[in-house]
Amino acid sequence: MSSGSIRAQGLYKVFGRDPASVMPLVREGIGKDELRDSHGHVLALRDVNLSVPEGSVQVIMGLSGCGKSTLVRHFNRLVEPTEGRVSVGGVDVLALGPGRLRRFRQSGISMVFQRFALFPHKTVRANVAFGLDVRRTEGSERDKRVARWVERVGLAGYEDSYPGELSGGMQQRVGLARALATDAKILLMDEPFGALDPLIRADMQDLVLGLQAELKKTMVFVTHDLEEAIAVGDRIAILRDGEIVQNADSQELVLRPADGYIEQFTNKINRARVLRVGSVMEPPNPELASPLHCSVDMTLEDALPRVSASPGEEAPVTDGDGNVVGAISVLRILVAVAGGRYSLGDGSEDRLKRTAG
């Protein structure tokens, strides 16, 4: 297994006085409320299995209290599981002794926190240097790295400020630089932008996407905002009451939600901006000769003007190499965007056509 992959198997977490004593009940499937009211223990995670390949972004999503912050803290062992296995880069994290666990946290994995958790008595520079200081990276190497990351997150000129003098967005930039400065391959982001204004949040998402394109970290990104999840995540795991309900990419999640709970999340978003041509196209139609092509990774919103300008309101779809791999029509787009009430491939297009006709 490569050094940046993460794997959790059969993870259970129960909070309370004697978690081991209630584990048999938990495995039998006792409800969260019953466990709390009759046995005084809180079930945070139930049989979580998750595998994050190196270099990809795994989003963990759910409402507050669903266990997402607890789950992410298992990967650097800030929280010990009641049962289960966690391995990072092929190393069994739960088997590490105190010294090796510290070294693993110093250079293998780093973290960004929801409430920033900056050191209020240290300057921006000293905050960013913290991870390097605790592993005794000293002198010019330390200063060079700190300067590079302070610059990269857009804080040049603020090196000597204290966190209390900065706005929320800038404070989280410090948090990001602090996490990046250790050059860890894995980045845990615990609702990093949850405390920020929407506009600043969009800025920070762009910053993270830019960094990710450049650095190819393995990232576990916790959020309660589906749009953010779709913007940053390769895969999105949705957690409810400590269980993963569905773990899929954004297209799958929107087109084929596993149950009503997932639908509640997905039915409020703008499907035209999320769904891509490749996810909803039909097989290639050799009769199409439109000069206007759409590529597979275009969003439906971007594709719509081209398709509607094509003869017969239908256009060929090409992949990255320019090969024709499918066809897309305005009707097809409308059905996909309407979602829910109509589904692809069950004849609803014909019905729509007739109604429109």
Binding site: R105, S110, M111, F130, V134
Partner: protein, 291 residues
């Protein structure tokens, strides 16, 4: 009515007297046996105290004033406080209390240093262990509420009259605030900041030095401030066991009914107290402002 209902049935004069006597005998023989050894252990402290007192007395008065003013400015960056320091010290000198003030300054400084050297580590230990905290809290309550004279008795029995028992009495009386506020300050460090340092693999020592102590420092300074105030309030009592300084003239004034002498020396103690208080507080505020 039987007698035990009208007057409290005691254990009996005979029994109590013999218990007390046995206790006193045991302590007396202990102090006879180990008194010299214990005194020898405290010798370095005595040297330090005597050396510092001589240094303050031998240094020309204007140099001492300049040094105190420089220290004040370094700690507080406040010209106003430096001016107030200057006026206070000049006034004390003009009223012929310079020597006694220097002696008091010496014992207060040494006691405060010892208090910090013992109190801060104890406070840190208490913040790490809840069990230690439950043991120490009542001990400190006793240290602060027990009438001072009561623990002067065994100290004087062990060391005789002089500077060392004075310092020990001052330290016992004045150490609880430093311990309490160090403990409190460390416990008040926000959980999320500690979690962040854990997440970056900080060792316990790094966490203490880089995160907990700096964030607890304003509280620790408040504890040191309290300690100095309490040490100064012990000056007169310490003079009863032979500690020279501003307390002695006060004692003399009480026994001889010299009202003016008492007021002047008392005022000098108060002036010193205000000086130290403002200095440590301004320093603490500066630490807080950095945050």
């Amino acid at each position: 009515m039987p007698e035990w209902l009208t007057s409290f049935p005691t254990l009996g004069e005979q029994l109590l007297r013999s218990v007390r006597r046995a206790f006193d005998e045991a302590y007396r023989s202990f102090s006879r046996e180990y008194g010299e050894v214990i005194e020898a252990i405290f010798d370095p402290l005595l040297y330090l105290l005597v050396w510092f007192e001589r240094l303050l007395l031998a240094t020309p008065w204007w140099l001492v004033i300049a040094a105190v003013c420089a220290l004040c400015y370094a700690a507080t960056r406040s010209r106003k406080l430096v001016a107030w320091t200057l006026v206070t010290l000049l006034g004390i000198g003009l009223l012929d209390m310079w020597e006694d003030t220097m002696r008091t300054l010496a014992i207060i400084s040494v006691s405060t240093l010892i208090t910090i050297a013992l109190g801060v580590p104890l406070g840190i230990a208490m913040s790490w262990s809840d069990r230690l905290q439950t043991v120490f809290t009542p001990v400190m309550d006793v240290m602060q509420t027990m009438p001072i004279f009561v623990y002067l008795i065994p100290v004087v029995m062990l060391f005789g009259l002089g500077k060392i028992p004075g310092v020990i009495a001052v330290v016992i009386y004045a150490i609880p605030p430093v311990i309490r506020l160090t403990n409190l300050g460390i416990r008040l460090v926000p959980e999320d900041v500690l979690e962040a340092s854990d997440a970056f693999g900080a060792s316990r020592r790094d966490k203490l030095i880089q995160v907990q102590l700096p964030l607890a420092l304003p509280n620790i300074m408040a504890g040191i401030n309290q300690t100095i105030m309490m040490a100064l309030s012990m000056v007169v009592i310490a003079s009863m066991i032979g500690v020279r300084g501003l307390g002695q003239p006060v004692l003399e004034a009480v026994t001889n009914q010299y009202f003016a002498l008492g007021i002047l020396n008392g005022a000098a103690v108060v002036a010193l107290a205000i000086l130290f208080d403002r200095m440590t507080q301004a320093y603490g505020r500066r630490l807080r402002a950095i945050k």
